[in-house]
């Protein structure tokens, strides 16, 4: 339990921040185990009444779900309600219901047990799949099953919940999330789940703070405990001390005031006070994040991570499969731009299990892998090219360290275009190609690289790691992982200047782009595009709109003249406090 800290009565648990906001209130533990389906034999004469109970329960379940969907459609993006489709379709499954009825008659067992036994089979199959999406589907199946059983037992829909509460649960299904949101829900804390779980996506849409992946919160919290939930940092505190509460309440107040001011910023342009336009886009990995990015006012997608589709499967995805994913992203974002970063994986994801590298970060990664695996690269390039037809799409190459790699990638792109032309498939033949600058070699050769491509995008995470020669997951050296080290900042300046000399726009898609401390300096360095996680978009835009380009340049000059990270951080935080006193910096 290395994510738990205990100080007297106060217990702090670290999880994953899934939806921003701060909630303090009594806990309400929502347990799914209350639904029990014991096996009871029935008489042959009872079969028809047992089947009637089943049918009545299914009909009631359908009504419940229809209500939830109607409510959700009012309150949410229509796209978000599709999450509930699966459950409604299962209730309509004539074969499943027929099998359950036949089993009741043949085995002379009670309806709830047969429902439990039959549907559990499918749930087990889904849970055994090596795929997180299927695990989420298993929750849907579980939810439908519990709903039917509860209705057979004629129990009322949850909530004994009265007044306001922070919901604690092992897991939440989308339907739970929505039902609870009709009550006075302050926040959600769950043992399982990641930021991409459907419940997390829904809580963001509903603007209810949530922390997921807490692993053991249901075991540590007792009825009546007060919970303080911090959806910005992903921390839950049980029985918080007065001091903790005050700190959190101050933080909540700062964020609330700040967010109120941010609400009207979503529709405004990302430009400095003296009207220098900045492209502000989002980093996205899953389709579900696209609508959230749009709501947050993203101009486009500056980094679409594609490698997720390679994991948890046997064999490579087909061109059709990739195309379907890319097309749905470009459809949502059009007329704005989507930048697809081609598969950025280590060799271990591509080669057979025996493949081993002593030093994977210095090994077979990114473009190096793709140039060695032309079949995979061609398949992906064709899929992206097809998605570019009548849309604005760009391609970005990861882990480039030589100009030659760009030339080979360009050649591969031409081959893919020729194949599509031969097939008569439309695509954007003038598609923009760019390089993600994340190796010191690419930084040093940025000007030569810029003359070969249409744009550069700085990947600060890897760039910092390689410039500082530090693996940030290695605790012994982690303090040396300094994004604001002068060496890193000088590399960034070098890359931006080199790009501009070759009339190439320069963006940034690493973590630094979304760090409010860096914004003024980066604007001053002349960065053309910021690509950030959707949740910080309004905040970064607010900073951009507050500063003047002229002042930002002075800030950048001064920061670049400093010789230690500590000095630079201190200076930049005084700048931002001066510019936007209300900004709740989380330091």
């Amino acid at each position: 339990m290395d994510n738990v800290q205990i100080h007297g009565r106060e217990i702090t648990i670290k999880g994953i921040a899934a939806a921003p906001g701060i909630a303090v209130g009594p806990s309400y533990t929502y347990s799914k185990q209350i639904i029990r389906a014991e096996m009871k034999p029935i008489e042959a004469a009872e079969v028809s009444s047992e089947i009637e109970r089943l049918r009545g329960a299914v009909a009631r379940s359908q009504k419940e779900l229809e209500k939830i969907v109607a409510f959700a459609q009012e309150k949410l993006d229509p796209d978000d309600t599709k999450i509930l489709e699966a459950q409604i379709m299962i209730l309509d499954d004539a074969i499943l219901m027929g099998t359950i009825e036949k089993r009741i008659a043949a085995e002379l067992r009670n309806a709830e047990f047969v429902v439990f036994d039959e549907i559990s089979k499918y749930k087990r199959l889904m849970l055994s799949a090596p795929d997180e999406y299927m695990h989420e589907r298993a929750h849907d199946v579980d939810d439908v099953m519990n709903r039917i059983i509860r209705n057979i037992q004629d129990q009322k829909l949850v909530s004994k919940l009265e007044g306001e509460a922070v919901i604690v649960s092992e897991t939440l299904t989308p339907a739970d999330t929505i039902i609870f949101s009709r009550n006075k829900i302050l926040g959600y804390a769950t043992d399982t789940g990641g930021v991409t779980s459907h419940a997390a996506i829904l809580s963001r849409s509903l603007k209810i703070p949530a922390v997921v992946g807490l692993r053991n919160v249901t075991r540590l919290v007792h009825p009546g405990d007060t919970l303080a939930l911090d959806g910005y940092s992903g921390v839950v505190t049980i029985n918080p001390t007065e001091e903790t509460l005050q700190t959190l309440q101050r933080k909540a107040k700062r964020f609330r005031e700040f967010e109120e001011r941010l609400a009207d910023i979503v529709g405004l342009a990302a430009e400095t006070a003296d009207h220098r336009h900045i492209e502000l886009s989002a980093n996205v990995e899953f389709d579900e994040e696209l609508s959230f990015a749009r709501q947050q006012g993203a101009a486009g997608v500056g980094l679409f991570r594609t490698e997720g589709q390679l994991f948890g499967r046997t064999g490579y995805p087909t061109e059709e499969e990739l195309y379907a994913t890319y097309r749905s992203a470009t459809d949502v974002i059009f007329p704005n731009t989507v930048i697809f970063r081609v598969f950025d994986v280590g060799g271990d994801k591509i080669a057979p299990g025996s493949f081993h590298e002593n030093n994977p970060f210095l090994g077979w990664r990114g473009i190096r892998v793709l140039l060695d695996r032309p079949d995979l690269f061609q398949t992906q390039l064709r899929a992206i090219l097809r998605a570019s037809d009548r849309k604005t799409v760009r391609i970005m190459l990861p882990m480039v360290s030589t100009v030659q790699e760009i030339r080979l990638a360009r050649e591969a792109l031409r081959t893919a275009m020729a194949e599509l032309a031969r097939r008569g498939v439309p695509h954007d033949s003038g598609i923009a190609l760019g390089v993600m600058v994340e190796t010191p070699a690419a930084a040093l050769m940025a000007e030569e690289m810029a003359s070969e491509v249409d744009f550069l995008s700085i990947g600060t995470n890897d760039l910092t790691q390689y410039i500082m020669a530090v693996d940030r997951d290695n605790l012994a050296v982690a303090p040396l992982y300094q994004q604001f080290n002068p060496a890193v900042l000088r590399a960034i300046k070098m890359i931006i200047d080199a790009g501009h000399r070759k009339a190439c726009w320069v963006g940034m898609c690493g973590e630094m782009a979304g760090d409010p401390l860096a914004t003024v300096m980066l604007v001053g360095l002349g960065l053309d595009e910021f690509s950030v996680i959707p949740s910080v978009l309004p905040e970064i835009k607010k900073i951009i709109r507050t500063v003047k380009f002229k002042e930002a340049k002075r800030v950048a000059d001064r920061a670049l003249g400093m010789s230690s990270e500590a000095e630079i951080r201190e200076y930049l935080s005084s700048v931002i406090k001066n510019q936007i006193p209300e900004l709740p910096l989380d330091m």
Binding site: A94, I95, M126, R137, T314, P317, T318, E321, Y323
Partner: protein, 88 residues
């Protein structure tokens, strides 16, 4: 009885539409339709079953059709797989 072999090509399991398309197509025919994968046999006219099978993408499935219109049913279902479930 007819048997066919297909490979799941789309990002199945992610969304329910491919499963719904299979079930809807199969329902147009009288023939019984079974999908076999490893030791599992699933009724191809059941949405929950088909959703489960979609778990492993890129895997190969055996389709079995049995009934008076098995020929037509096989053609329609296999074609649906080959078209990638009309997802474009």
């Amino acid at each position: 009885m007819l048997t066919r072999t297909v490979t799941i090509q789309n990002r199945a399991g992610l969304h329910t539409r491919p499963a719904a398309a299979i079930v809807k197509t199969a329902a147009r025919f009288q023939a019984e339709f079974t999908i076999i994968k490893d030791e599992f046999e699933i009724n191809g006219k059941s949405i929950i079953g088909v959703m489960t099978l979609a778990a492993e993408r890129g895997s190969t499935l055996e389709l079995r059709f049995d009934g008076p219109d098995e020929e037509q049913a096989a053609t329609a279902v296999v074609e649906l797989f080959e078209r990638g479930f009309d997802e474009e």
